[in-house]
């Protein structure tokens, strides 16, 4: 846990260091509005944990983790828009478009997404990565964030796509796949990329299911709480079973984050949940 606290501090300060976009001050403010609110930072932490367990550079994992966090935050800005989820509040504060207007919110998302690639393109943000490694990071992140990943999943969600697990895989798990893959690239363990992608996918689905349990939404609405809890436990056990095989002796650093995700769902469903458990 102390390691996570230390990393969390590093993520907060590195995010601030890396966030130096030009242009209008208003745009900059809107781009940073969600990014610098208190968040769990689960994606950068996961990237750091994967890289750490595989012996990668902390500096490099930190930079790419921050980039993934920027991309996650751009998706939140656009997801909240009136044409999408039409949310007025996030984390108890007005949503980006409620604070800055819809046009600026759209543009802030666009600029934050673009800026994420600018950070990746600057070699000085990385220490031990070759240009080939950096191009691999850009390829992974653009694939996982784009039409075949997060954005495609959002379209499936809007369309009411029948397979919720595929929607979740694309919409949420894609970015966890990116965290695991990028952690592996930072650690120069290309032999593990297929395993890391599969593991990232499972952890991402576990994360989405936990989110649905906490919000009584998505999965829970379709399958009910009991079946959702069973699926959650099943995925959790699958993940835990392969962790040592992939990460070896330092697997508990990744496992600890997975535990945190899983335990959050247990707390909600057996703890402060008012509906009776059967």
């Amino acid at each position: 846990m102390e390691l996570y606290e230390y990393w969390l501090g590093r993520v907060e300060s590195r995010l601030r260091e890396l966030f130096k976009p030009g242009g209008p001050p208003l745009l900059r403010e809107a781009m940073g509005y969600y990014l610098f609110q208190k968040g769990k930072r689960i994606r950068p932490l996961m990237t750091l944990a994967v890289s750490y367990a595989l012996g990668g550079s902390e500096e490099d994992a930190l930079a790419v983790g921050c980039v993934i966090e920027m991309i996650h935050n751009y998706t939140l800005i656009h997801d909240d828009l009136p044409a999408m989820d039409n949310d007025d509040f996030r984390r108890g504060l007005p949503t980006c478009h409620r604070k800055f207007g819809e046009a600026v919110a759209i543009l802030a998302g666009d600029a934050l997404l673009t800026y994420a690639f600018e950070v990746l393109s600057q070699r000085e943000n990385f220490r031990e990565l070759s240009e080939e490694d950096i191009l691999d990071l850009i390829r992974v992140i653009s694939q996982k964030a784009g039409a075949g990943g997060v954005v495609g999943g959002q379209v499936f969600d809007i369309e009411g796509h029948k397979d919720i697990e595929e929607t979740n895989r694309m919409k949420t798990a894609s970015l966890f796949e990116a965290c695991f893959l990028c952690g592996g690239i930072v650690a120069k363990r290309r032999d593990l990329l297929k395993d890391l992608e599969n593991l990232g996918r499972k952890v991402g689905i576990l994360f989405q299911i936990t989110d649905d349990i906490l919000d009584q939404d998505g999965y829970v609405k379709i399958f009910g709480l009991r079946q959702t809890m069973e699926r959650s436990r099943e995925i959790y056990e699958e993940v835990k079973k392969v962790l040592v095989g992939v990460f070896g002796e330092k697997s508990s650093v990744v496992g600890g984050l997975v535990d945190m995700i899983y335990e959050a769902s247990l707390k909600r469903s057996y703890g402060d949940d008012k509906t009776p458990q059967s």
Copy 2:
């Protein structure tokens, strides 16, 4: 002119080859809706011309020109949205959000922007460029398309920023700067990048002024047609004066495109324009 026709054909077919996003068919359709309408393709042509004049690889200039065209088209999708310009028609057809709905249009823009970087990240799309060269392309394009470039200019435009030339420089000229810079990177002429950026900026502003003359908008609304025409001629002459110095004996290939831009504005203002000239 035959060279431009040939390039135009190559741009159309290369765009189709490069455009292979995954994800939902509806999203793919929305992403390609503007991209595959008949357009002038001035940005890819300019990139090809700059690279040609400096001895760069046609294949590589073509690929990066197509990427810039993708980015240009994502900006059109987002600019047309109800929260922005709220346009119902573009090129005589329903705008992207009128055809696919606002949510899908926002997501199609996001996915197209992301996809542009995916194309850049794949080394197999380039022949003679090193990984360092490709990272330079990504850096230039992300800087020129982002908060300090196109997106920032759009925010200035919305805010009614007082300096229209700065707004135009960011909103429109930034992507022309990217064309000139990327043409120079493809040709491995890093010694010329500063000159190319300046030239691209001027050509971009000339392009925007021509657009304003054709639409009787922007510049013309503020300064009137006569003063706008004078500014247009002034920039045109500045550009023509330095072309040979930068590009040498093949400068006319770039110059021909600049002439086309300038002449379009003349035709409108002295030709089919109904308002009297003074």
